[in-house]
């Protein structure tokens, strides 16, 4: 199979893939929201921490600033960085700059970057922004200053001694410091996602298999329909009451319908062929019978009036026997429901019993006989007897020594039902469609017309024949409708 698109993938893979996708999307959303929250919290922590630190440092710086003690001031601003440690990396100060009232650097943790006595705003846009912000706001309030397009943020604390503003302390923090914490968070979340996936993946694969397997089996069964109808009972049907269960039930129902239809078609085919053969043989029989009657009459006349010599007489006899045989054969082919003599009685059926008994005893057969007719039936007795005789003789012939033959006749639903079965050699399945055709027999003895005649009679009486033949049991069931008018 080729997969042109993802949509063409089997459910077995599609479902786990979708589970993975869902887990990933969920994990991404949850992580993203956690990252945003963490960033927000970290930033708030940082600002709170910076504000506290700024106030402490600003207080400590007043004395060195008043005394113009550069070293002491440097030692003060350096303290936060002396105690920076990796555990609280987000809270570590990137730079500390002390500015005097003229916005000149008094001291800083980076003396080379911020030369003493110079205005850092001249060199750094962050400080230009800060100077501008400080000029516009209240000078004695602690401020959070976030220069746009800068990767630093600043907490600026005024340094006040005895109510006099000495300058400002700017604590600079890198926004990058959030990165390790966020990276850590993302890594943890990725790990959890991975763990969830390792649990969910086998689960979803199992689940997908459960869901897909019946569908795959159904699809495979449907694929076969075009070539050969699958056995409906072989189609796996999940016991679930969901759509898949319904689908399988419906499919099985469809298969049963298709099987019935195929059987019906087969029957019709056989019936039509037999009808065609019947018409043909009837036609031929008529065409043969007329000249045949003339020829026999001519032979009779010649024998009676022609005083034939011995040789002629012998030849005439030969011709007469041959023609008679032709007539018998044709007569056998031409089954005609002549206007019947008398209705069928129970005694008519019993006669057949007696007739067949001899043959049955010869094979020491177990001959089960059930004649359940009581009242006479408005059916042509001769034809019914012929049918019964044919079937029973065939049955007796089919059995092995000491085999079983069973006959049952009864009336049911305004129909005469004749059931004949035996436990002899069964009729091969591929032979069944041709069973009722003339001369279709595989046996060496017999005319090959017995079942043909049977079938013709049943047809003329508008009845039906059913054959069921398996090893050990061959059963013929004939149903003949009783005419209403009787």
């Amino acid at each position: 199979m080729r997969f042109n698109r993802l949509d063409d993938l089997s459910l077995r893979y599609k479902i786990p893939l979708r589970v993975i996708a869902l887990v990933l999307v969920t994990a991404f959303c949850v992580t993203a929201s956690m990252v945003f929250r963490e960033y927000d919290e970290s930033r708030r922590d940082l600002v709170a921490h910076a504000a506290g630190l700024g106030r402490v440092l600003a207080d400590t710086l007043t004395a060195p600033m008043v005394h113009d003690d550069l070293w002491r001031a440097y030692e003060v601003v350096r303290t936060p960085q002396l105690h920076n440690n990796s555990d609280f990396e987000t809270l570590s100060v990137a730079s500390v700059v002390v500015l005097d009232t003229g916005f000149r650097t008094f001291v800083s943790t980076q003396p080379i970057r911020y030369p003493l006595g110079l205005n850092p705003a001249h060199k750094e846009t962050d400080f230009a922004y800060m100077q501008h912000a400080l000029a516009t706001g209240e000078a004695t309030a602690q401020r959070l200053i976030e220069p746009p397009a800068s990767d630093h943020l600043y907490v600026v604390t005024p340094i006040i001694a005895e109510g006099v503003l000495l300058g400002h302390l700017a604590l600079g923090y890198s926004r990058q410091v959030f990165a390790p914490r966020l990276r850590n968070l993302i890594a943890r979340s990725a790990l959890v996602t991975l763990l969830v996936l390792t649990v969910l993946l086998p689960l979803s694969t199992w689940w997908a298999r459960r869901l897909a397997d019946p569908l795959v089996a159904l699809a495979a069964a449907m694929d076969q329909v075009a070539e050969r109808l699958p056995d409906p009972t072989a189609v796996p049907i999940p016991s679930t009451g969901d759509e898949i269960g319904h689908l399988a039930q419906a499919f099985r129902g469809m298969l049963v319908g298709l099987h019935e239809k195929a059987q019906l078609e087969q029957h019709m085919l056989v019936a039509e062929r037999l009808a065609a053969v019947g018409r043909l043989s009837a036609g031929i029989a008529h065409e043969i019978n007329n000249p045949l009657g003339g020829m026999l009459n001519a032979l009779n006349t010649l024998r009676r009036h022609g005083a034939p010599d011995a040789l002629t007489e012998k030849t005439l006899s030969l011709l007469e026997r041959g023609l008679t045989q032709v007539r018998n054969t044709v007569a056998a082919l031409l089954v005609e429901a002549k206007v019947e003599n008398h209705p069928l009685t129970s005694q008519d059926i019993e006669d057949i019993h007696i007739l067949v008994m001899a043959a049955a005893q010869k094979k020491t057969a177990d001959f089960v006989w059930r004649n359940r007719l009581d009242a006479p039936l408005p059916l042509p007795s001769t034809l019914v007897r012929q049918v019964l005789l044919n079937l029973l003789l065939n049955a007796v012939q089919a059995i092995d020594a000491s085999g079983r033959v069973e006959c049952d006749t009864h009336v049911e639903n305004q129909r005469l039902v004749i059931l004949v079965e035996n436990d002899g050699k069964h009729i091969p399945a591929d032979h069944l469609p041709y069973l009722f055709e003339p001369f279709a027999t595989e046996r060496s003895e017999g005319s090959g017309l017995g079942l043909w005649v049977t079938y013709q009679i049943v047809q003329q009486l508008q009845g039906s024949v059913e054959v069921d033949s398996q090893p050990g049991l061959t059963r013929f069931v004939i149903e003949l409708p009783l005419p209403e008018s009787a």
Binding site: D69, L70, W71, Y74, E75, V107, T109, Q110, P111, I112, L116
Partner: protein
């Protein structure tokens, strides 16, 4: 005469113990320390203290202060028995304290003052190259960290108070190294012995600096005693210091100090410092 005899008898009784108190507990030996060595290594100080206590048979108390001046005043006021101070305050108060011992460094009781600059400065060779810069001194009572650079500028015909745009004291040699290393000052003066020792203990601090100039040799930072120290105590402490190199523990401590040992020393070691101090004092008049 009678008193001396009594003391000699006592000293004969015990090997040579320092006797602060005759009755009950022996009195504590009070020793003042200044940043003439790396006095911020508390673990080392604890060992040194234990060593002195064991050798003297008396409890020892180390006293440290924020500036040389405070230690000077303590010993001048008799609040300390001994102190390890700088040659500059010693020559200023020679009559009020006694020279106890002098450290021996590289075989001699001598050391130098270093002019250091940031590593990035490769041009500066002398103080005069730093006109208008920010300069770090260690202590106004330090020879190497104040007196020598001031004197040098005077000799160069400069006014040491206005030559630099700005100066500040860090109150410790080690901190001068830090100040110059981070660029807070463009130059600074340190005790050469402290600088070299720091280079062994914390090379990352000295690595940010360069020694631009080394002074002539001066008498090393002296151990002194208060002027009225009992002679026995003086001799005992001197003996402990001078013989430190002879026992294993003392030798180990000397290695930590990066010194060869102590010698009783000679007052004339400090004549050059005294001369510089006179010159500076006269210039200020």
């Amino acid at each position: 005469m009678h008193r001396r005899h009594f003391l000699q008898m006592l000293s004969g009784a015990a090997a040579m113990p320092l006797t602060g108190s005759v009755h009950g507990e022996p009195a504590t030996l009070r020793i003042g320390l200044t940043p003439v060595f790396l006095d911020d290594q508390l673990d080392f100080l604890k060992q040194l203290n234990a060593y002195f206590a064991r050798r003297s048979g008396r409890p020892v108390s180390f006293i440290q202060r924020g500036s040389y001046r405070e230690i000077n005043e303590l010993i001048l006021g008799g609040k300390l028995d001994f102190a390890w101070i700088c040659g500059y305050p010693y020559v200023s108060h020679r009559r009020d304290m006694r020279l106890l011992a002098v450290p021996v460094y590289h075989g001699k009781p001598l050391y130098q003052s270093y002019l250091i600059v940031p590593k990035s400065d490769s041009d500066t060779r002398y103080f005069t190259d730093l006109r208008g810069k920010i300069y770090a001194y260690s202590d106004p009572d330090s020879n190497s960290g104040f007196l020598y650079p001031q004197y040098s500028l005077l000799r160069a015909g400069e006014n040491p108070t206005t030559f630099f745009s700005r100066t500040f004291f860090t109150w410790a040699h080690r901190k001068v190294v830090v100040a110059v290393g981070v660029g807070l000052a463009q130059g600074g003066s340190v005790d050469g012995y402290v600088y070299d020792t720091l280079a062994l203990v914390h090379p990352e601090l000295t690595a940010a600096t360069r020694v631009a100039h080394r002074s002539p040799l001066f008498g090393h930072t002296p151990f002194v005693a208060r002027h009225d120290i009992p002679e026995r105590d003086f001799r005992s402490m001197q003996g402990i210091l001078v013989s430190m190199r002879d026992d294993q523990e003392g030798a180990q401590l000397l290695r930590s100090l990066n010194l060869d040992g102590f010698t009783p020393g000679d007052d004339h070691l400090y004549d050059s410092i005294a001369a510089m101090a006179r010159t500076l004092a006269e210039s200020r008049r």
